[in-house]
């Protein structure tokens, strides 16, 4: 079964954009979530990532991340309420607890826990949208010139983990299919078998990498190399030119890249300027004070609107508009001249 967070290629702007643009856009929203504590802005970031995820078609990822994130948020609220006794409004006194001392549950600690949980949930949804919408292979390919070995390791891990999960599922199915009379198979034997299998796979992968020359120095064309046509490496199209190095003749950029870079930059600029103007006004203790000033509301509104960056006119709307444009361009019966 496919994980809800697994990348699925879709003809949507976020998936079509280059990894740098998608990371810049989603990263800017996550940065805002870490930069701000005001719950209005955090809710706006949450709204933005949910809208972005849904517009990118990552419904399952958003749903699963929301479920996980809100569960974690609830846990954080409970823990914070029990661990932190600060705050003015005492709701309940739970007596002396070992390690904790006197436990007073305060409204402020619950609200502070809610803000911490909200941040965690927002970040989880942001990463879920990234995971479901940004092609990991393209990200790794983009990283290869910077950190080749790390990129290779990450590539292998990103392949072997799902393979191990699939192996585990197959082993469980096989154990179940032996029938009700068979002795139950515990987790330990399954884990042992899985480990042995993964070691076999690792040896295979190592042999394959060796055969493909991964252990050798990267190939560099000699001076005076002859023309051998064009070659596509990653997002660049390069061409051998006699007596020259690789010559970049073009970049395969998505037409959505500029939009995502611009929105990401705008979100960051608005967040930083807003922070300087006091848009992050929020105090947890001793009394909760949530800033609702113009700067806070403006930052929240702009951040929430940034969630529409992956928007694309639907095919139906697009074709209807095209038809309308054709109709308006054609001359009426009888001529207009």
């Amino acid at each position: 079964m496919r994980s809800p967070f697994a990348y699925i290629p879709r003809p949507r702007p976020l998936q079509l954009a280059s990894p740098g643009a998608a990371v810049a856009y989603l990263g800017s929203l996550i940065v805002v979530a870490f930069l701000y504590s005001n719950p209005i802005v955090l809710l706006a970031v949450g709204l933005a990532v949910v809208i972005a995820g849904r517009l990118a078609g990552a419904h399952a990822a958003v749903r699963a991340a929301l479920w996980m994130g809100l569960t974690l948020a609830a846990l954080i609220v409970v823990v914070n309420a029990l661990v932190v006794s600060r705050g003015e409004t005492v709701l309940a006194r739970l007596g002396e607890w070992p390690l904790f001392g006197q436990v007073d549950v305060t409204l402020e600690a619950i609200l502070a826990g809610f803000v911490l949980g909200l941040r965690a949930a927002v970040v989880m949804v942001g990463f879920a949208v990234y995971s479901a919408c940004v092609d990991p292979d393209r990200v790794l390919r983009a990283l290869r010139p910077i950190a080749g070995r790390s990129a290779l390791t990450a590539t292998l891990v990103s392949r072997l983990v799902p393979v191990a999960a699939a192996d585990a599922a197959r082993l469980r199915d096989a154990a179940r299919l032996r029938g009700p009379g068979a002795a139950p198979v515990g987790r330990a034997p399954l884990a042992r078998r899985l480990l042995a299998g993964s070691l076999d796979r690792a040896v295979d992968v190592a042999a394959t990498l060796e055969l493909r020359g991964y252990s050798l120095e990267p190939h560099r064309p000699a001076a005076g190399a002859t023309f051998s046509g064009s070659e596509t490496s990653g997002k660049r199209c390069t061409r051998w030119v006699p007596g020259r190095r690789h010559q970049v003749i073009g970049r395969r950029r998505s037409r959505y890249d500029r939009r995502f870079y611009a929105v990401g930059l705008a979100v960051l600029v608005v967040a930083i300027v807003g922070k300087a103007l006091g848009a992050d006004a929020f105090s947890e203790y001793p009394a909760t004070e949530i800033g609702t000033g113009a700067a806070t509301l403006a930052v929240a509104a702009l951040v929430a609107l940034s969630g529409f960056a992956p928007w694309r006119r639907s095919a139906r709307t697009h074709s209807a508009l095209t038809k309308r444009r054709i109709a308006s361009n054609s001359l009426p019966a009888g001529g207009g001249i």
Binding site: E88, L91, G95
Partner: protein, 304 residues
């Protein structure tokens, strides 16, 4: 399936929680407390309130928050400003808010300091370059003798070290305030040492005064000059600011490590000790860190 067993278990759980002091709401009411906010070693009053709505869940921070306009830092554990007076690091020095409960500096934060009712809470905004720690002050008289410190009432011992009639006066002043004096005080008793400085300086806690305000928190020093002991008053920066006359007295409080606070009612000679004993009332000590007396004139310390 839920049965009567579940109901009994739940009833027992709630009974246990109630017995352990658990319950909804902030708990029952406790006695009133007193809140004083000053700046510059108590010289400028900022506000004074009677805290009449205290409950058993209240802390110093909750009491302050309800009665003053404050801002906090570090997750609400550190008071940054009270009534707009903000902690700062400037050319003048390091200015911060410090609090005393019953005249004793707390070793824990205001948010964790539980109030039990009857306390005298004093917040002071001061420059702490000369003395980062002033462990005890006299400005909450008759505390800590009446209500103790760290949430516990303590025995009080008056140690007469050649104080003569001043010792009797100290006893009387304490009794007037309703403080019982222990004949055989335990080791955690709050002590008042009464006598001339030449006798008191043998006490390890009192001897800290000779090592300056950085050690004792007292902005006064006794110095031996030309065979005579002199009392020198210091200013906020710890520099000499006044050389008191021939027979001055001093009332000050200090504390050695985590031992109980020690008050000194002393002077360079017996007349000074008697004058110092005469200062033991709320009118003379109120909101002062320490007080010197010379020729009948009281001088709060540190000097400005």
């Amino acid at each position: 399936m839920r049965g009567p067993g579940t109901a009994v278990a739940l009833a027992l759980l709630f009974a246990a929680l109630a017995a352990a002091g658990c319950g909804l709401g902030p708990g029952s009411a406790v006695k009133d407390a007193e809140l004083t906010v000053t700046r510059d070693y108590g010289t400028v009053p900022v506000l004074h309130r009677r805290l009449g709505d205290l409950t058993e869940s209240d802390t110093v921070m909750r009491g302050l928050e309800r009665n003053a306009d404050i801002t906090t830092r570090y997750g609400g554990g550190f008071v940054q400003s009270i009534e707009g007076l903000e902690a700062e690091e400037s050319a003048v020095g390091s200015l911060d808010w410090f609090f005393y409960v019953n005249g004793v500096e707390s070793t824990i934060g205001a948010a964790d300091y539980a109030l039990h009712g009857g306390e005298s809470i004093w917040w002071d905004y001061r420059n702490w370059d000369a003395a980062m720690r002033v462990p005890a002050v006299v400005g909450s008289w008759p505390q800590p003798f009446l209500g103790g410190y760290d949430g516990k009432r303590r025995a009080v011992a008056v140690e007469c070290l050649g104080g003569g009639s001043a010792c009797d006066e100290v006893d009387e002043r304490l009794e007037e305030e309703g403080v019982g004096i222990s004949a055989r005080p335990p080791s955690d008793a709050i002590r008042i040492l009464v006598g001339p400085w030449a006798r008191l300086r043998g006490d390890p806690a009192a001897a800290q005064i000779e090592r300056g305000p950085q050690t004792s928190g007292v902005f006064a020093e006794f110095r031996r000059e030309a065979g005579a002991i002199r009392l020198i008053g210091l200013d906020e920066t710890g520099n000499d600011a006044a050389d008191f006359g021939r027979d001055p007295g001093l009332v000050a409080a200090t504390r050695r490590y985590e031992e109980p606070p020690v008050w000194v009612v002393t002077g360079t000679a017996e007349a000074g000790v008697r004058a110092a004993a005469g200062l033991l009332d709320a009118g003379d000590l109120r909101d002062h860190y320490a007080v010197a007396v010379d020729g009948g004139k009281e001088t709060p310390l540190p000097l400005r």
